[in-house]
């Protein structure tokens, strides 16, 4: 069964090609179902592979499947090869699993869109790229997927390209990611010239010098920052919400954005060799991002923006874990986060769908009666992310905080505050959307364009995924319970591939503190938004994301653009000016010289005479008499 690993990406690819050829014919909704089926099939294959792998001993669980030589030249031998090992298969499981659900969801969500089939075309392409990313046996194949998902996210964010905001957001995403890709490429260059290969097997098992390892680690991290929206490159993710909600759920919450974390875990042995300030940098940036994004999320009114910033913040958590050496914790949180964040996004999507594409939470409220399933599932997701036991989020987040404490109490504290904020803004969101009094009626005075003013529950293919994900969000934590070594299934599972650290700190106190903090956050939110005891604190600066985004765009539009213009000017006037100048010079000289050509014989005679005298001087005076 392991040999069939190639089927996992192949099926979505096949789906892509088929839709490319027959998409128009299939149309709405057949194309959607077809795509879903493809991803679903690849999920089944993954399950098969997974089962097969389970049946093997830990040593022989990683399996290399070489398809063909991709770039064989000189000392650079890159194969297009897939590596099935616990890590990649775990990724595949939730990528294909959640992927299937979201495909299904999208069938309902995109119903009636003029470019229905094209949407699934991109979606399948994305699934393929993502699977290549995780299955790649060397950095270059990963990079192939890496860039592929980037391109797909560009296409999908700008899916409604008539909207300038969408187009711009797509472009922004791609370019910001490219900045990260630069880092990724540099990392590859270092790795190649250090070990003569790009295969993880070689890189991870080579005795690298500390400096090289640090370089590889940090450059990879730059790449991860781009892909996983960490400071300072997170900018694109909030804007990416311009894309259809399923896209936000699949790409910008569950799968693609976690690629950075995956990469760091993939090369965890290198990180271990790297001098330890590398770890510090990663951890600090992670913590900072987590806190920073959380503060922003507090003041957002767009239902998806809140989730976007929360995603950034949660990713920050994961990097905090990576930086603290808790790769398993990071992966654990990545999985649970995938569950509940996908859930939340899909819920939000369902709300938006029900509200006829209304995204402003101030125009919502009291929706729980109108769309019960959405509401319930959403609330489950909320509890999960808020870190309320026994929901999935609690376990993973707790794990991370634990290791953060090992690294340094300060990091731990920042994480804790972030947890509090998370609980706070998520509660705020739930209240604004599902409780309080319905504000959507007055909303429709302005744009009552839609037929029925009544929000409605979404069709089955949208709510089914919600329910499935809700279940997962509840029980998801079970894959890695911290009680005993046997219950830490994920850790034992990943041990052969990923470096595993043992935490020294007592788990329980920290856990209790975390729970308390979470509850406090919820409580505060209820006081502020449900009971209205306290005036909400939503300073503009937070709504504007600390003005960082604007500052950047101002710089790009201002000095940056001027610099570019200046260079373009220089190209035309200095470099080319020199060229044209030469021509002009020749002409002007000629213009002057032709004045000598007076047409008068006597002038000519004078010229000849002068020439004679000069020649005579040379010959007689210089050569002769002297």
């Amino acid at each position: 069964m392991l040999d069939l690993v190639w089927l996992i990406p192949a099926l979505p690819l096949a789906g892509f090609i088929c839709i490319l050829l027959f998409g128009r014919k299939l149309g709405d909704p057949k194309a959607g179902y077809f795509a879903t089926a493809m991803v679903g099939a690849s999920f089944l294959v993954t399950v098969g592979v997974f089962a097969d792998m389970m049946s093997k001993t830990a040593e022989e669980r990683s399996h290399l499947r070489t398809l063909f030589q991709w770039i064989p030249v000189g000392s650079l031998k890159v194969d297009l090869a897939l590596l099935a090992d616990p890590l990649s298969i775990t990724m595949c499981l939730f990528v294909t699993g959640i992927g299937t659900l979201i495909h299904l969801y999208a069938v309902g969500y995109m119903h009636g869109d003029s470019k229905f089939s094209k949407f699934f075309l991109y979606l399948n392409l994305f699934a393929f790229s993502m699977l290549m990313l995780v299955l790649g046996s060397n950095m270059l194949v990963t990079f192939l997927g890496w860039e592929g998902v980037g391109t797909c996210s560009y296409l999908l964010i700008a899916f409604w390209h008539q909207k300038d905001s969408a187009a711009t957001a797509g472009k922004k995403a791609f370019i910001t990611n490219r900045v990260g890709d630069w880092g990724f490429m540099m990392a590859m260059f270092f790795a190649f010239w250090a070990v003569g290969s790009l295969d993880y097997s070689v890189i991870n098992h080579s005795l690298l010098s500390t400096s090289t390892a640090t370089a590889i680690a940090l450059f990879c991290f730059i790449g991860a920052c781009g892909k996983s929206a960490q400071l300072p490159l997170y900018l694109w993710l909030p804007d990416a919400m311009e894309g259809p909600t399923p896209v936000s759920a699949l790409i910008h919450a569950a799968t693609m954005v976690t690629a950075g974390v995956y990469l760091m875990c993939r090369i965890s042995p290198v990180l271990e060799i790297a001098s330890n300030y590398a770890g510090w940098i990663i951890a600090i940036i992670g913590a900072a991002t987590a806190f920073y994004a959380a503060t922003i999320a507090v003041a957002q009114n767009d239902i998806k923006k809140v989730l976007a910033y929360s995603t950034v913040s949660q990713l920050g958590y994961m990097f905090l874990a990576v930086g603290s050496g808790a790769y398993t914790a990071a992966l654990f949180h990545m999985i649970t986060h995938a569950f509940f964040k996908a859930l939340l996004f899909l819920g939000a999507g369902s709300v938006i769908h029900g509200m006829h594409h209304e995204q402003d939470m101030r125009r919502m409220g009291a929706l729980r009666k109108l769309m019960p399933i959405t509401a319930i599932t959403f609330i489950i997701g909320w509890l999960a992310i808020a870190g309320v036991p026994p929901f999935a989020g609690f376990w993973s987040k707790d794990e991370i905080l634990l290791f953060a404490y090992d690294k340094s109490p300060i990091l731990w504290f920042v994480g804790l505050v972030t947890a509090l904020l998370t609980a706070y803004y998520m509660t705020r969101q739930v209240i604004m959307v599902f409780y309080g009094k319905a504000r959507w009626n007055d909303a429709h005075e302005e744009h009552g364009a839609h037929g029925d003013t009544e929000p409605h529950e979404s069709p089955w293919m949208m709510v089914t995924p919600l329910m499935v994900l809700a279940v997962l969000s509840i029980v998801g934590g079970a894959i890695n319970l911290p009680f005993s070594h046997t219950t830490e299934r994920l850790v034992t599972w990943l041990e052969p591939v990923v470096v595993v650290r043992e935490s020294t700190t007592a788990k329980l106190p920290l856990a209790i503190i975390a729970i308390v903090v979470g509850l406090v956050g919820i409580g505060l939110a209820i006081i502020v938004y449900a009971k209205h005891r306290v005036k909400a604190i939503e300073p503009q600066i937070l709504a504007d994301a600390w003005g960082y985004d604007r500052a950047v765009s101002n710089f790009m539009g201002g000095p940056g653009r001027q610099a570019f213009d200046g260079l373009a000017w220089a190209d035309g006037h200095v470099v080319d000016g020199a060229v044209n100048g030469t021509g002009a010079l020749v002409r002007s000289i000629a213009g002057k010289v032709r004045k000598l050509q007076t047409g008068n014989v006597r002038t000519y005679a004078a010229a000849i005479g002068a020439g004679v005298v000069l020649l005579l001087m040379w010959f007689v005076v210089v050569r002769g008499i002297l």
């Binding site: 032709r594 047409g599 006597r602």
Partner: protein, 106 residues
């Protein structure tokens, strides 16, 4: 006995030739009447002739003299042709000077 003081050597003749030649050159440069230009060219040729003869004397070589003979013929031919051209022009543009013949320029 004056002769004893100084008999003009070849050098004297050569110098005279040089001066005469330069006078001719100057003439060509300053005069505007084509005919006088021709005369100045004649002056130059004569200077050369003088030089030849003087040198021939110095070497005791007759070749120099025959050269002068040829030069005279050349001079004659030149004058004829020159006058021919001058006539052709002056017929059309009476009183034309070389300064008037400066249509072609630049």
């Amino acid at each position: 006995m004056i002769a004893a003081i100084a008999t003009p050597t070849t050098t004297w003749y050569l110098l005279l030739g040089a001066v005469l030649f330069s006078i001719g050159v100057i003439g060509v440069m300053v005069r505007r009447n084509p005919l006088i230009l021709f005369m100045c060219v004649e002056l130059m040729l004569n200077a050369v002739n003088l030089t030849f003869v003087a040198l021939a004397r110095r070497f005791g070589d007759i070749g120099g003299q025959s050269t002068v003979f040829f030069v005279m013929v050349v001079a004659a031919a030149e004058v004829v042709v020159g006058l021919g051209i001058a006539v052709a022009i002056l017929r059309r543009k009476p009183h034309a000077t070389t300064d008037d013949m400066a249509e072609l320029k630049g």
